[in-house]
């Protein structure tokens, strides 16, 4: 495949389109990316794609952005990574910029405030459901350490106001030490 201007334009177009029309975050866009770049275009093979997905999910940041950087890099090196990343972040950037403008103009309107207030209640419900679902999975493992980590993280941030970054770092270290100990026992 020739890596000319037309190629990069295509890469930008596909990542832009995927990002602009995918609602529901990283877990939804990943399978669609696989369909586009593996099944339809054959720009990367399936095994490579699975590796990328694993890395994208275990790295910090938005999964969709991580995945597009890796796919771009896999197809066309650093330039490809840059183009794919720009394609992915441009749509939300434009959309939120426009909304932000309207938000300033409309958020003082009483009816808009009431609608947003209602939506706020809906968002609460969605987050409660997500936490319940994720928490249930942790409790179901019946392992003491994950359950303790979950409770510790909540108390540390909510009650003791410890910086989220510190909590993340501490829990990451606990996880790494734990797997090292288990590996030695084997």
């Amino acid at each position: 495949m020739k890596k000319d201007f037309k190629f990069y334009l295509k890469l930008f177009y596909y990542t832009f389109k995927l990002s602009a029309f995918t609602f529901g975050g990283g877990y939804v866009i990943i399978p669609l990316m696989k369909k586009q770049f593996v099944d339809k275009l054959h720009w990367i093979d399936e095994q490579e794609m699975f590796d990328y997905i694993a890395i994208a999910q275990s790295s910090p940041g938005a999964i969709a952005v991580n995945a597009s950087v890796l796919i771009g890099k896999g197809i066309a090196g650093t330039k490809g990574a840059l183009v794919a990343m720009l394609g992915t972040i441009t749509p939300p950037f434009i959309i939120l910029t426009i909304i932000s403008f309207f938000y300033k103009a409309f958020s003082s309107n009483l009816i808009v405030q009431n609608v947003l207030h209602g939506m706020q209640a809906g968002v609460c419900a969605v987050i409660i459901e997500v936490v319940y679902d994720m928490g249930k999975k942790i409790v179901k493992t019946k392992m003491l350490l994950p359950i303790l980590i979950m409770i510790f993280a909540f108390l540390a941030v909510y009650i003791f106001k410890i910086n989220v970054a510190w909590v993340i770092l501490i829990c990451a270290v606990i996880g790494a030490v734990n797997i090292k100990i288990r590996e030695k026992k084997k």
Binding site: S19, T22, F23, G24, G25, G26, A56, Q57, S58, S59, P60, G61, A62, I63, V65, N66, M85, I89, P91, P92, F93, I95, L96, T97, S100, I111, N114, V115, H117, G118, M119, Q120, A121, G122, V123, C124, A125, V126, I127, I128, E129, V131, M134, P146, I149, M150, F152, A153, F154, V157, Y158, N163, V164, I168, C171, A172, A176, I179, K180, E183
Partner: protein
Amino acid sequence: MIYLELFWSFFQIGLFSIGGGYAALPLIQEQIVTIHGWMTITEFTDIITISQMTPGPIAINASSFTGIQIAGLPGALIATFGCILPSCIIVLTLAFLYKKYRKLWIVDGILQGLRPAVVGLIASAGLFILIAALWHGQKFSLNIDYIALIIIAISIFLLKKFKLNPIIIIFSSGVVGGIVFSLI
């Protein structure tokens, strides 16, 4: 220097939000509401609401939105850049290491420690939002917003029972809120 502050805040959000989706919420809340006071908890919830109804990752949406509100278009560009920079560097480094060593057991271990932590952190951010919705940012009292409480209860029921799409739930809550809150 507001640009530097925006960059550094969103750099931290990008660096420490692991696990996708809602994992970024507690970090965004801490940075833009608690530490810098760039937004109220209500405005923060509005960002989540807007993010749920538009495409794109929450962290990117939050950086564009906050950046614009605080320092205009350059602010939005800088915040977004700060947000994606750490993950770009880490992803490319990991990809390089992965090709060399195939299995990174330490990454597995770290993730095992982080998964339950992320649940606790989202719960913390969720509780802040819940209190904002029910008590409008005031302290606990009997003066609770019953309409919001009813909307939340019915929404949870619909989510659990019929597995309705969150976008539909949020949208209908908005319609109900717009009508009921305006009538009383």
